[in-house]
Amino acid sequence: MTRFGKLLNQNRIAHARKRKTGNKVMLSLTGVLTALALVPLVWIIVYVILRGGKSINLDFFTQLPKPLGMAGGGVLHAIEGTLIVTLLAGIFSVPPGVLAAFYAARFPNTPLGMALRFSTDVLSGVPSIVVGLFAYAVLVKPMGHYSALAGGAALAVLMLPTIIRTTEEMLKLVPHTLREGSLALGASEWKTSLSVLFPAALNGIFTGFLLALARAAGETAPLLFTTLGNERYDLKAIISGGVQSHQGFFQILDRIVNQPVDSLPLTLWKYAQQPYPERIEQAWAVALVLMLLVLIVNITARVWIQVRTRRMEG
């Protein structure tokens, strides 16, 4: 045995226990840390369900808020507001997002393609409150009033990066043979894009849309000074009032989207700061509805893509 062989042996034996314990301790630690990270998740979900569940009843979904200090009432206005604003956000973000993704997937290495990727990255990192400021400057200020429209636009900006990215990924996954087949048959590129690529990537696009929507539906900051909030907002009243006074479709639509609205997160944020116990309890109920909404959409998206991709592979 060489000189350093002996050296090695001495040290090795001296260190063996320390190394083995270190190994065990550190490996267990990673498991402990993982469990630790999940504590808040479980804690929040369980607690919100238990506490929020107490204040949930039919009124909660069907009534407008009662005046401050009075018990009862619901958050219909916020539910309607959230639906309207996220719907608008979807309308504003999906078409440009998908089209930009076609460009990004098609010309990834052109200067414009790289600039697009960079912009998408930057956009995904822009704080949502800053997007709110931006929407205020370009929409609320020129229009002169807060509106669902401005809120929808702000959320759309937040959704764009997710939609672009997931769609781009999906388009890249579409087998080249599919595309070649179509092109070789003499179909033009745009027909190929729409009739072959788009359907093949549709599952992915839908998933991306759902994930983006789940995130947008929970956003508060961009709505603070775009939709502002509106406890009187009542879709039924707007529509029936409009029909009674013989307004046209577009006039009614205008009244729906062109005035301040509330949303679930916005309502939660306001209620949580009020000194009235009823409002606090309702805040928990709103938290429950919001959380379930977001988690269900999120999980649906994930299950959807898993099932679909598995089917494609199988």
Binding site: N23, G31, L123, S188, A221, A287
Partner: protein, 347 residues
Amino acid sequence: MWKHWQAVSGGIVNKKIKPALKPNRILRLHRIFRHGDRPWQGLIMVVSIFIIVLMAAIGWMLWRESSGARFTFGWNFLAPTTNASWDPVNDHFQAWPFIYGTLLTSLFAIIIALPISLGIAIFLVELCPAWLRTPLTWMVELLAAIPSVVYGLWGIFIFLPVVVTPIGSFLAETLGNFPVIGALFAGPMSASGASRLAASLILAIMIIPTIAAVTRDVFLAIPNSQREASLALGSTRWETIWKVLIPYGLSGILGAVILGLGRALGETMAVTMVIGNSIEGSLSLLRPGYSMASVIANEFAEAVSKLHNQALVEVGLALFVMTLLLNILARFLVWRVASRTPQEVRA
């Protein structure tokens, strides 16, 4: 002719991706005359330009809308100072307390979130039994799906009294007495728990999914041959992780941290609900503070004076620039990893 085709098609067949698919001559001629491609490519190009313009417009709008404040206060607005004033009544604004609050809470959040996220990533990739991997991954990602206001609500009523106040009091009694870092942990811990510490802890919970997900991808991308090389020399699993895998993925992990930092800087609602929203002079983590995003959230809709409004936009501008720089840094790191790879493939 070839040039013309390229102009029309914009290089339809991306040579880099599929060199095998050079169209034959007939197909090529056919393509020149087919309809609809030019409008289609025009359309997706215009939309792409729109996205780029949108990104630029955010920066430009913030710049324009904050011009008055920038002009009036200059660099003083952002400069570190111990006695900053934020005084809407007298129209005097200095943003340092917010910047300090944002930086301190974000950095502390990273310090807490990084080891936990590393632990999660290591556990998921290196140790966890296969059947547990997907459910665990999902659960960690769901942590990011819970809306920020829900974190805030839970924070105010549960997390603060139950967790933060005890931890804070403990820190004040122990670390608070140390000479230098004592300033960061000076008590008394605020009774409600609303403090920079509370914001940091909530932020940590919120950015763990981001850091863990990116780090997990980094570990997944490390070739198995590295693990085998290390284990075959008689390393323990932990030695392999600590001395081979983490060094190998270091820049990726750094990128994850930067992404997490960006998240933390811009997080608004949860922080606003638990940080205490106060501009007292203390530097301590255990005292109430304020953050850049919070001041915008709290004051923008009610800002009456033009200068106040512009000062808030300038805070937003600063926030935008910070996240932009972080993003560029993250991209640079990714680029460095990418440029290292070819060498490794050489073998």
